[in-house]
Symmetry: C2
């Protein structure tokens, strides 16, 4: 994994890909599938996300204040769905689905080796956790796998239906 400038993190998340979220608690790592996230600030990158209190990851995120957002490409889609279909309460999902945890630099939760980008995050704001399960995260360090060229991400439309990235268009924009 090669370090990615924090100023470019929004370019990964703004298009709305399905991502994985890893946590670690009492020496045990877990991973969940997540689609409800958005950018909040460019730099330092802030990301808001919803992690339901029904998810096993919720307690770990709440108590440790750390996670990794990992961005999978199309090839990982079957595993991403399997990760979403079960709970870390019942099994070690890394082991069960052949995902490889790599130690992160700044946080305890692991990166996911198979994902083309990994964002090490700490919880920056919990004021809307009680009402909406809404966490604001700060990205501390970002990684990108240079071996995965032009990865296609997937976008959830409900009930296992995913839109895959298609063509790219370029328009004259003043927007960053």
């Amino acid at each position: 994994m090669k370090e990615l400038p924090l100023s470019k993190v929004y370019q990964l998340l703004e298009p709305g890909p399905v991502v994985l979220l890893t946590t670690a608690r009492k020496g045990r790592a877990n991973v969940m599938t997540m689609s409800w996230h958005m950018m909040v600030e460019f730099e330092p990158p802030l990301v808001a996300c919803i992690v339901s209190s029904a998810n096993h990851s919720f307690a770990a995120l709440r108590s440790t204040g750390e996670c990794v957002i990992a961005v999978p490409a199309l090839e990982l889609a079957p595993k991403v769905v399997k990760v979403g279909n079960c709970s870390g309460r019942d099994l070690d999902k890394f082991m069960a689905f052949g995902l490889t945890p790599i130690p992160a630099a700044r946080v305890a939760p692991p990166l996911v080796a198979e994902c083309f980008a990994n964002l090490e995050c700490k919880v920056a704001d919990t004021s809307l956790v009680k009402r909406y399960n809404l966490f604001v995260l700060e990205v501390l360090k970002a990684w990108r796998d240079p071996a995965q060229k032009n990865p296609k991400t997937i976008h959830h439309q409900g009930y296992g239906k995913f839109i895959v990235d298609g063509e790219t268009i370029k328009l004259k924009s003043r927007m960053r």
Copy 2:
């Protein structure tokens, strides 16, 4: 426009499309381009979004507590970018770019006739507006244009680069 059940709203926004946001203040409608949004709750649908205080729309949204989220398909991409490149301070963007405002049912800001879906929203929570320009919206009523079949949405990657929806895949998922 045909009414869309509120339970299906998340299927429109969860994939992360670029959207338009309309507001109205003192009898004048405005429209901006937005990419920082996410689902917060299925039903009633709650949506979080960032509307920068640098945007002309910010004051209207803050003071009236109403907006419409309109979802454009690929064909509208050039107009979507033009909307994002200028400010409602300086011109009537509906007029300038040939977008057609249609009266909404529950809020003062207009629907955008050219968009394949329109969501009438009221502001539900402003507690993170000061810190992050983060609004939580409740979708009151949703509309879909049945004449636009299989619209392809666009996803912003920064600096006018957009990913267009590609193929759709279906995987066996327990996730709603």
